[in-house]
Symmetry: C2
């Protein structure tokens, strides 16, 4: 086999690929999600997809646009969807680029901004799909842990920034999920957002604000997006995956036109343009008011599921296990006692029929061995209940 003689390692080479091979995707390769109790993944609930309304919208799009809906289209996205997004978020249309999934938004920002060795600051933990992307471009990822006290939090970032400068390296951007973070489910306060924006402006780096869960708030008041605090410093990434349906693979980037122009050129060689028909469907779904009506129902459903999960954890989890109380989003984060290894425990859990994602995978410094992420959007209340009972029993056995 000639494969052996061929050097086929590239920029995205074997070592990079293996280290951040997605543990979630690896699970999905092996098991049918519906055959286990899955707290893994960030899947919306299938019942939030309004099939009849989607089908009606599709027929409307075909009647309205005809063949245009199936032709190539503008690299920036179809005008109708860019305008609908601009209107919804109160930004000028020239600041909107449609992306073929918000994951692509993360990837294209990294590709446009980062040279091998450049530093990307992140929270510790942070979204593993973003860490994968940073890693694939050979970024030097520096995760900074959260501190309750704002001065201590600022100091933690300042210390990392000083360290990077002392090493003669450049920080290209700070990657943040300020609303209902993946994996922790927690949000940044307004004060914290302001502090980070100030740091970015002081030290001349950008902020990539990844905001797929922002509209899924179940309690409390909306906190201004980091983008609104500094529109020329922040690239805001949004997604239709959690407010409409992930199967369309559509998101958007809102940013300074100079940055969008770079993304535009880059996207030409990535995939020419986002899926056209899907964009018209999303635009029509949004403009007709169907998206908001459906979103309201999804929020109510997810609030119930979050409350259920919180009460089940309270009732069944063994002593020594702690968890976050997210005000929105799809996840909460569990911390087991020191010494617990959620990666090792994983096989036990999966064999018994319950899946989660080990927290270690979200930590750029590979800490957090005693943590795990739990999703509450995907399963039915009945299966969430059975799943928590099973997981709690397994944990109890393991920890005793």
């Amino acid at each position: 086999m000639p494969m052996d003689s061929i050097n086929y390692n590239g920029l995205f080479s074997e070592d990079v690929g293996s280290f951040f091979r997605s543990p979630v995707r690896e699970i999905f390769k092996k098991v049918d999600l519906n055959s286990i109790y899955s707290f893994a993944g960030g899947y919306p609930s299938v019942e939030t997809f309004p099939l009849e309304e989607i089908e009606a919208t599709m027929s409307e799009v075909i009647a309205k646009y005809g063949g245009k809906a199936f032709q190539y289209g503008a690299t920036q996205g179809v005008p109708e969807l860019r305008e609908a997004v601009a209107k919804r978020y109160g930004v000028p249309v020239e600041r909107v680029q449609i992306t073929s999934s918000s994951q692509q938004g993360i990837d294209v920002c990294t590709r446009v901004l980062v040279n091998p060795g450049d530093v990307v600051l992140t929270s510790n933990p942070s979204y593993l799909g973003a860490l994968q992307s940073f890693c694939s471009y050979r970024a030097d990822i520096r995760g900074v842990g959260h501190e309750e006290d704002i001065d201590a939090f600022r100091k933690a970032y300042e210390a990392e920034i000083a360290k990077v400068k002392a090493e003669g390296k450049r920080i290209k951007f700070l990657y943040m999920i300020p609303d209902f973070q993946n994996p922790s489910g927690e949000s940044l306060t307004l004060e914290e957002r302001r502090m980070l924006v100030e740091l970015a402006q002081e030290h001349a780096f950008l902020i990539v604000e990844d905001s797929p869960y922002r509209e899924l708030r179940y309690e409390g008041e909306h906190i201004p997006a980091m983008y609104s605090l500094a529109p020329d410093t922040v690239i805001h990434l949004g997604s239709f995956s959690k407010i409409f349906a992930p199967g369309f693979r559509l998101g958007w980037a809102i940013a300074h036109p100079d940055i969008l122009d770079k993304i535009y050129v880059c996207k030409q060689s990535l995939d020419l343009c986002p899926p056209i028909f899907d964009q018209y469907v999303a635009a029509e779904f949004l403009e007709s008011g169907r998206l908001d009506a459906n979103l309201k129902k999804s929020i109510s459903l997810y609030r119930t599921k979050r409350d259920l999960l919180l009460s089940l954890l309270e009732e069944h989890m063994p002593e020594g296990v702690r968890w976050t109380h997210p005000e929105g989003g799809l996840f909460l984060f569990l911390t087991m006692p020191e010494g617990f290894d959620a990666v090792k425990f994983y096989d036990t859990a999966l064999d018994a029929g319950v899946a989660y994602v080990a927290g270690e995978f979200f930590h750029p410094d590979r800490s957090g061995k005693n943590t795990m992420r739990m999703n509450f959007s995907f399963m039915s209340p009945e299966r969430i209940t059975e799943g928590v009972k099973l997981l709690a029993k397994l944990l109890e056995n393991q920890m005793s």
Copy 2:
């Protein structure tokens, strides 16, 4: 504006971006395609999109798969589409990866295989979207011109390979469009394909065979795909854009499972998975036989348009202009006399209302200044006729 103080150049930096900023996309930014005679772009004809059948297929998919059609899916593509592609091309399903456009296929191969400075061999000229992608990963692109004589052709490649080796560089792959090449419209003979595969195996590099037009043959016999000659040496890229509709942004890669595994990991951080609903629609369209029935009609339509363009060129083009006679695909290639500059002439043409793509953009060595690519699939016969007459008149004025 803080933008000035921020170093936002990354791997895909300003110089790379500007050099290979797509001239076609730049045209589309400025003018409505339907307001000019457009021989630019590689757009299929809108009338080849069977709207009623697509709408029926969509309803069938929703009835058959329900919410699953709008959920996240496997990174490799949905099993139904992978199997349909595997069956159509007679390859094992584990050798099929669905891509979010065949442009993504090119990009992901480059990302997985190329480190900055690595050599990518191409034909000279070659597809500019591929050159953009290679360029963005800082590949060292070496274009080799075609020679009618097989020995001379082989020698031209051997000379380039020897040169690369003497420089201590590595060739990662040869990028080829063997069927109805973009931009020339010409195909490689079986002998030429065999020769290139032999060179690849002898010198341990891969071949990326980009084959979006393969099924659009208007005369002559099919020539075996390079993949079929050496399935472990060749990565075969296909596309639904020309045989179904580009608005779905779906393609496929057929390759050795070891290479697909790298693409699979890479695609996780690129966009998680291709659009799900679109994949089910493509699978259903293919399996139901609708695709082949529709393709037959498209081939007949495009044959007529090609013949029309060829006869119009014969009738109207001034002395000294030559062109290729493609047996399939969407393009033919014009050569004007030495000294003609198709880039400079472009503004004259666009002002008069006719667009083409200057051949220089397809030449990695920036030669071919006196060439242009003409598409014959997009416009109606009437507009092709008017467009050629106009272009011929403009050329005559320019050349006299």
